[in-house]
């Protein structure tokens, strides 16, 4: 049932106005997608240490259910206690504190992880150099680039100087970076050489069951890797949700204003044509389809353009500011698509009210 594409024809009669409308809505959608993309990238980065860990279960001080914005202190003997629990294949303590890593005048917030080289808990991969020896540190490649340091250079962490022995990758986020030193070194710096922040556990059986057994046996909090990762992401999302929502709504309001203005301008400039169409027999439903068609076409084009621009923006951002990951998740696309649909419908409301009132008899000369 091919019909004359009247909505498209009307929209494209003034191409410049149509393009401006598409561009305006696209910019608003890019803001939404980019903000959500950066948030998604950040939450992924924030849990990367957990996600890349070989541990199946993470044990923390009772009640501590995340790493970000938390302090966990466990007695050192808990490691042996955990190792004795059936289903535990291995257990390994790590120390973890928040500080910053400095070189020259550049400073970068950092999680400092103390681990035993050769054991779980260290960097997932060392792309250059070696794991840390006494007084040495492994840093992330993005952080190294920002700090302008390489293997053998000195950086300041926890009030003392460390020599860079190795470089890992994928551990720098928009929030912070992760650096790795020897467990003993960090314990000495902290003044508690026989404690742990977390205990990483490898299991032989089901991680959830083992985690439950650990909690029962030790009284500490034990979470599976996916569970801790989800907690971590959820915490970061909660911290940024209000801001993100405000920004997203503001962006959609901008898009709404643009689409309403474009449609109003298009409709008002074509009221006579709409009168002609009504005189020729276009009914209320047809007029509604005509206006909604223009709104949806504008928003659909804007959505496609916005996705393309956001992907390009992500690539550009990754090149210019390596600590920012812009990840477009399918959920974000769906939210933006739904938002676009709402914007299209809301933006079409006023023009629709106007065209519904157009009198078909206006096609004749002024009534005589």
């Amino acid at each position: 049932m091919t019909m004359v594409p009247i909505a498209r024809r009307m929209l494209l009669t003034d191409r410049r106005r149509a393009l401006l409308g598409v561009a305006g809505v696209a910019v608003a959608l890019v803001m939404v997608l980019a903000l959500e993309g950066i948030a998604a990238g950040s939450t992924r980065q924030i849990s990367r240490y957990i996600d890349t860990s070989p541990a199946d279960v993470f044990v923390s001080q009772k009640g501590v259910r995340s790493i970000h914005m938390s302090i966990s202190v466990l007695p050192a003997d808990v490691v042996d206690q955990i190792a004795a629990i059936p289903g535990v294949a291995w257990s390994e303590p790590i120390l973890l504190v928040s500080d910053s890593v400095r070189a020259s005048r550049v400073r970068r917030p950092a999680y400092v992880i103390g681990y035993s080289p050769g054991e779980p808990g260290g960097p997932p991969v060392v792309v250059e150099g070696t794991e840390p020896g006494p007084g040495e540190i492994v840093i992330d490649d993005r952080a190294a680039a920002m700090l302008g340091v390489g293997i053998g250079d000195q950086v300041d962490v926890m009030g003392r100087s460390w020599s860079v022995s190795g470089v890992t990758t994928g551990m720098t986020s928009i929030v912070n970076t992760i650096v790795y030193v020897r467990y003993e070194d960090l314990g000495t710096v902290l003044g508690r050489p026989s404690s742990a922040s977390y205990v990483l556990v490898g299991t032989d059986g089901g991680p959830a069951e083992v985690a439950a057994d650990i909690e029962r046996a030790t009284g500490h909090t034990a979470q599976t890797r996916p569970s801790l990762s989800a907690e971590e992401r959820s915490l970061v999302r909660q911290m940024s949700t209000d801001l993100m929502n405000v920004m997203a709504v503001a962006s959609l309001v901008v898009g709404l204003a643009v689409i309403a203005l474009v449609l109003s301008a298009t409709v008002l400039s074509r009221l006579k044509d709409i009168g002609i169409m009504k005189a020729l027999g276009l009914g209320r439903a047809g007029v509604t389809r005509l206006v909604l068609g223009q709104a949806l076409a504008t928003v659909a084009a804007a959505f496609v353009l916005a996705v393309g621009l956001t992907v390009g923006l992500g690539a550009g951002v990754a090149r210019l500011t390596p600590d920012i990951d812009l990840v477009i998740e399918s959920a974000s696309l769906i939210r933006a698509a739904v938002g676009s649909l709402v914007v299209a419908l809301a933006g079409a409301a006023l023009p629709l009210l106007r065209v519904w009132r157009v009198d078909p008899a206006t096609v004749f000369r002024s009534a005589s």
Binding site: M1, T2, M3, V4, I6, R9, M10, L12, T13, R270, K272, D273, I276, M277, K278, A279, L280, G281, L282, G283, R284, G286, D359, P360, A361, V363, F364, R365, S366, A367, S368
Partner: protein, 276 residues
């Protein structure tokens, strides 16, 4: 020729209420048969356009009936009027009223779409009609690239697209030069005679009288006798001698549609007439 296509009975239209009420149409009776061309003339403000709007199902009468194919347009629900306009009437307008966003072919095709004819059949029908009006080389043109005569021929093709029993034309020659106006008048006549449709024309243009089977004079919302009317010798419009600017000449009283026409006429006959 005897089949009635359109009938209006005791048609009234009043705008506003009370002291500000304007009775635009007062008790009009009109019957138009298939194959017939009826020309309705009258001065500005006489109610011609109001009458045409009611006949074309765009304006509801205050009282009276308008019968088309046995349907009384005065009581048809709004939801059905659009469809009726698409299938029952063909419209030809003074300003052509083509859709500028569409090509010539699409303008006709769009009218077909409104009546439910879509796709290839609509395209073929549009092309056939436009070719019949000598526009085969203008199919993909935008209306603004056409001459006035071409635009009005597109409008005629659009009006005939759905083979309506009634064609309503509002000042179809007003914006056309003389030769083209005659051509449009001839085409309207042919639409009635050859295609057996009823054609109702509202116009000031006295040239259209030649194409009409009947000429009706509308004044103050009611039909009067056309024999009482005079023709402005300058512009050709029909005018009511009562109250119209006029000139006393040696041959008698000459009436005009406006003082400007009268003055122009007087200038041509300077020294031989007296302005009254």
């Amino acid at each position: 020729m005897n089949e009635i296509a359109l009938a209006a009975e005791d048609l009234h239209k009043t705008f506003g209420d009370g002291d500000i009420a304007v009775r635009a149409v007062r008790g009009v009776d009109l019957t138009v048969r298939r194959g017939e061309v009826v020309l309705i003339m009258g001065p500005s403000g006489s109610g011609k356009t109001t009458l045409l709007s009611m006949l074309g199902a765009m304006l509801r009468p205050t009282s009276g009936r308008i019968l088309v194919d046995g349907i009384d347009l005065a009581v048809v629900p709004d939801s059905r009027l659009s469809r009726l306009r698409a299938t029952t009437f063909g419209f030809v307008f003074q300003d052509f009223n083509l859709l500028g966003a569409l090509s010539v072919r699409e303008n006709v095709e769009f009218a077909l779409n409104l009546a439910g004819v879509t796709g290839r059949p609509a395209r073929l029908r549009a092309e056939e009609l436009l070719t019949g009006f000598g526009l085969s080389r203008r199919l993909e043109f935008r209306p603004d690239k056409l001459s006035g005569g071409e635009k009005q021929r597109v409008a005629l093709a659009r009006a005939l697209a759905n083979q309506p029993p009634v064609v309503l034309a509002d000042e179809p020659t007003a914006n056309l030069e003389s030769k083209t106006g005659h051509e449009i008048a001839r085409l309207l006549r042919a639409i009635a005679t050859d295609e057996h449709r009823a054609v109702v024309i509202v116009s000031h243009d006295a040239r259209l009288k030649d194409a009409a089977d009947r000429v009706l004079w509308l004044e103050d919302g009611a039909f009067g006798s056309f024999e009482e009317m005079a023709t402005d010798p300058v512009c050709g419009m029909s005018v009511s001698p009562v109250g119209a600017p006029h000139l006393q000449t040696a041959d008698g009283i000459v009436s005009f549609c406006s003082a400007a026409c009268r003055d122009e006429y007087a200038a041509l006959r300077s020294g031989r007439s007296t302005v009254v």
